[in-house]
Symmetry: C2
Subunit: 223 residues, 2 copies
DNA sequence: AGATTCCCTTGATCTGTATCAAAGGTCCGT
DNA sequence: ACGGACCTTTGATACAGATCAAGGGAATCT
């Protein structure tokens, strides 16, 4: 289950650089590739590394014993994930599509943080933005309707990955559903509804390329 | 709306001491009392203070424009709340019952954190436990049934406030419902169901004093 | 102590979303 | 190009939990 088919040391390269805002840290970094669907780390596994998405997309999720899944976050290009304060990961992380990550040894980061107050501050501020996202998501999961959730999702993705007005979603309907606490059918129906209202359009023959035609209209749906 | 009827400077006393794990910080502290239902701070208000519950209980929540409410956390005796990294509060906090808090000026805390790595680490670890709670709560809100949510709530409260086997809940059914993403009727029905199964008992003539008669049975209901 | 307000439970009914089902469509490897 | 696995949509139906409603307690105030 935890075997990583990409775990080939030959794919690794060492170099020194930055991991997001940690510009002042001198930490050991490597690049690493994961195939679509590959597990990057598992829930409750020791948290040895911190990751940054260089290319691709990642989902972080928790499972209930009977297989129900809640995706806590999507990590897109530039995002840092897998940062833990405790000894273990609290989510499973998987590559949604073929993904390249940069990784830093967690201990080396912590070591730097102990002497460098600015790095310590960066760690806190990253944790705080994760917290803020989780807080907003609790409101969505606890109190929003399916249409409001999908609208909120589209606005979030638009903000985070829109290139030239087109949104190329890396995740499928089931991923979106498990992020929003819905079923994939309900997500599909909500998207069809928004399409019918002229709020969004699908591009080409795929349903994962979305153009937002009416952002104010969409924002009005997300209370 | 933001007027605090308890905001009487005469109620304040200054002294130096500790705020939770921040034992090494020399920060200015005061004690302050809030009546049942009083707002301690509002969402989007400047975050001037950090609070610790000395006595009583507090709810932190977000509202949608039409009044739907999501309680993100309950703060019980000993808990620290209102800790922000950014400039403003992201929740409204209200006293559930008459409550005494200790408060520390946020800037003084931050100032100490800049020079004291141990304090900085405490701030991070507090933020991390808030994050962990929010992550677990996302799973509950997104994927658990009403009975599972209520079971999880009872186990959480049992862990956090059980004195001598009796759980004296400070919050009403509506608060529980808004914490669990349910209605108060559904919470009431779930509690009746657990009562019927012999998993819990009500004490005295009030329904807020609960005894857990079968913790393993309850844990089995929370997947 | 009586009155007012709030709180909790329980029943009846409704509804938003899940579930079940089926049919194209798209992507991928051969 | 072809076959198979996956993905998405759409329709029909079911159901968990919401909503509506009412009545009995419990806490609080005067």
């Amino acid at each position: 289950m935890f075997v990583n088919v990409n775990a080939n040391p030959a794919n690794r390269q060492k170099f020194t650089g930055e991991l997001g805002g940690l510009t002042r840290a001198e930490v050991i970094l490597s690049e690493f590739k994961y195939n679509r669907g590959a597990e990057i780390f598992g829930e409750a596994e020791p948290a040895e590394y911190v990751y940054q998405v260089i290319d691709g997309a990642v989902r972080s999720y928790k499972l209930l014993s009977d297989g129900r899944r809640q995706i806590g976050a999507f990590h897109l290009v530039g995002d840092i994930f897998g940062l833990e304060n405790g000894p273990v990961h609290r989510f499973t992380a998987e590559a949604i599509i073929d993904t390249t990550v940069r990784l830093a040894k967690r201990v080396s980061l912590e070591h730097v943080a102990e002497t460098d107050a600015l790095v310590a501050r960066d760690l806190l501020s990253m944790t705080t933005s994760n917290l803020q996202h989780a807080e907003d998501h609790m409101l969505l999961l606890g109190r929003k309707t399916s249409l409001e959730r999908v609208a909120a999702f589209l606005l979030e993705m638009d903000r985070r990955l829109s290139a030239a007005g087109v949104m190329a979603l890396p995740m499928n309907r089931r991923d979106i559903a498990d992020y929003l606490g819905l079923t994939l059918e309900t997500v599909s129906r909500a998207l069809s509804c928004l399409h019918g209202k002229g709020i969004l359009g699908f591009l080409g023959q795929t349903q994962r390329q979305i153009i937002l035609l009416d952002r104010p209209g969409l924002a009005r749906l997300d209370l």
